[in-house]
């Protein structure tokens, strides 16, 4: 099938998946808890409020009607109201999401910049000390609990050594740049505030390093195995037989072909980074989705929890869709198959 058919098929599949995601979150929020209203409002809620919400939610209505209501509301962006912030959940999510986006993207970049070269060299120099060191790095990286690593790094690099700043996105005394995208790095550049840019960068360093370490391990692993597999293929031998420079053989004939599985893993790594954000944002006082949802659990802010889950699932699905499209671009067999 050609490219257009492929894209359409992927879009259709993603839409189906998103619908399924709505089903799942609906089940989790309306069906599974013994008393959804009680879960949302907490045990101290006055009975009138409980009744009001019960009617509003239509919990006396048959299940499929509830579901239709739920879907209609979700599609319009109504994810309920957070009892903690007393604002619509969607508004909260949109406010806190950019911080997580900034963190996840920075970590992913680190992961790719470290992981791909490391995995490639590890494969090209198989059996050497670099290879062994890289494999140790990978195994450690996927076995370390990110939240613990974050704590340890904070303890060492901030409290003990003072090399990096502490929790937060900016120095506490500094006024943040005017909010355009919510990504402080971008906003500070747009506003010409180099001091804020520098401060934000220094604050981003540690959390991004923690999550980036985890990302780099996974990416290095898949890069190594993918490159090893491609290295054995016939076309690499042909390339060398033509007298191509080794550098070109590696870049154009090995790496370029090894990219495909790597790109796929980058998609799943992004999911892992979102998970990591949830676990580490509290430690670094990073005002993102992770901290928002963690606070929501402790506060038993049920709507916020479900809203976050839905939101993250949507983001993740879109990331995977993007990955699929990039894959199609990379592999002409998909495009012109």
């Amino acid at each position: 099938m050609d490219l257009r058919a492929y894209v359409l098929r992927r879009l259709a599949l993603t839409t189906l998946v998103l619908f399924g995601v709505l089903v799942v979150t609906f089940l989790l929020s309306h069906v599974i808890p013994a008393d959804p209203i009680g879960a949302i409002l907490g045990p101290q809620a006055p009975p009138e409020l409980v009744e009001k919400l019960r009617r509003e939610w239509g919990l006396d209505k048959p299940l499929h009607e509830q579901f239709i209501d739920y879907v209609c509301r979700a599609v319009r962006g109504d994810l309920g109201r957070s009892i903690r912030t007393n604002r619509p959940v969607l508004q909260d999510l949109l406010e806190f999401f950019p911080a997580t986006l900034e963190l996840a993207t920075a970590s992913l970049m680190l992961g790719v910049l470290v992981g791909v070269p490391l995995g490639t060299i590890s494969a090209l120099r198989r059996g050497s000390w670099i290879d062994h060191a890289a494999r140790v790095f990978v195994t450690l990286g996927v076995s370390t609990p990110v939240f613990w690593l974050g704590l340890i790094m904070l303890m060492i690099f901030y409290y003990r050594l003072g090399w990096l700043p502490g929790p937060g996105r900016l120095d506490p005394y500094m006024t943040p740049p005017p909010r355009v995208t919510g990504l402080i790095l971008l906003d500070s550049l747009l506003a010409g505030r180099l001091d804020a840019f520098y401060s934000a960068l220094r604050h981003l360093a540690m959390p991004a390093a923690v999550l980036g370490w985890y990302a780099a391990a996974g990416i290095a692993r898949i890069t190594r195995s993918s490159v090893l597999e491609v290295m054995r293929r016939e076309h690499v031998r042909t390339a060398r037989a033509k007298g191509l420079l080794e550098r070109i053989v590696v870049l154009r004939h090995i790496l370029r072909n090894a990219l495909m599985p790597i790109v796929t893993v980058i998609g799943t790594t992004y999911g892992g980074l979102l998970e990591g954000a949830v676990l580490t944002e509290t430690i670094f006082a990073w005002p993102g989705l992770g901290r928002y949802s963690t606070g929501a659990f402790l506060y038993l802010d049920f709507m916020a929890v479900m809203g976050t889950t839905l939101f993250i699932a949507v983001i993740y699905s879109l990331v995977n869709l993007a990955v699929d499209l990039i894959y199609a671009y990379l592999d002409p067999r998909v495009r012109y198959g």
Partner: protein, 291 residues
Amino acid sequence: MGDRMEGARRTSIRGSLLMARLVLSSPTGFAGAVIVAGLLILSLIGPVLAPYDPYKQDMSERLMPPSWEHPFGTDQLGRDILSRVLYGCRISLSIALLVVAISATIGLLLGLVSGYFGGLVDEALMRVTDLFFAFPRLILAMAVAAALGPSIINTMLAIATVSWPVYARLVRACVLQVRNETYIEAARAIGAGHVRILFRHVLPMVVHVVLVQATLDLGSVILLAAGLSFIGLGAPPPTPEWGLMVSEGRLYIRSQWWVSTFPGLAIMISALGFNMLGDALRDAFDVRLGR
């Protein structure tokens, strides 16, 4: 062709011994096996070894640094951390083993049926697993745990829920490869029924995939469970669960670093052991199957 069937059956005792030798011959395999064995032993006799009662509070001894009396120090309620870590080993390992056993079994059965019979059942399973894969594992586990309420059982249910799809997909892919092999046709030709074929012929070829994944998964589940407890959705206090202990020590990380460090180290070493063992197992199977 008949050799394959024989080979699958021979992978009983002699095969297992050969596998064990292969695994232990590599340094990571050996280290992993040692760690896992250690964990299993500790989970059994840990409570006996523990010098103190993990729940006993002693405010006069709170936040003491590591010493001879308290090798891992004490926490903010004066409880001995070493004892809590030892008890936590049993908890973490039980959770991991139970969750993996359940999810692997469910995934295996569904994958076998789906891959072998194909058709609508297969399509349905693929769509359902697609759905599960649309969420990052922790996020979905979080949502399930939040819906059910914080407790160890609910943690296990939540993690099992997000774990089985991987096995189903893996097994299904393997079954698809095996299904078209000629010896399956041969078995049908002599009149073997579906169930018999599934269990006598298909299953042995699929088992190695499940074993490798399960071993690696044990490490992931330990990390996942600890993560859930860390954010407050897992075992409730005062359970000596490692993730919870790291969370409790968070406020004291500045000066009383030991409260969070030792439980976290325990998590890491456990995950490390299973990951190394799983990798070595996978390599050993590759060798055995001639790759």
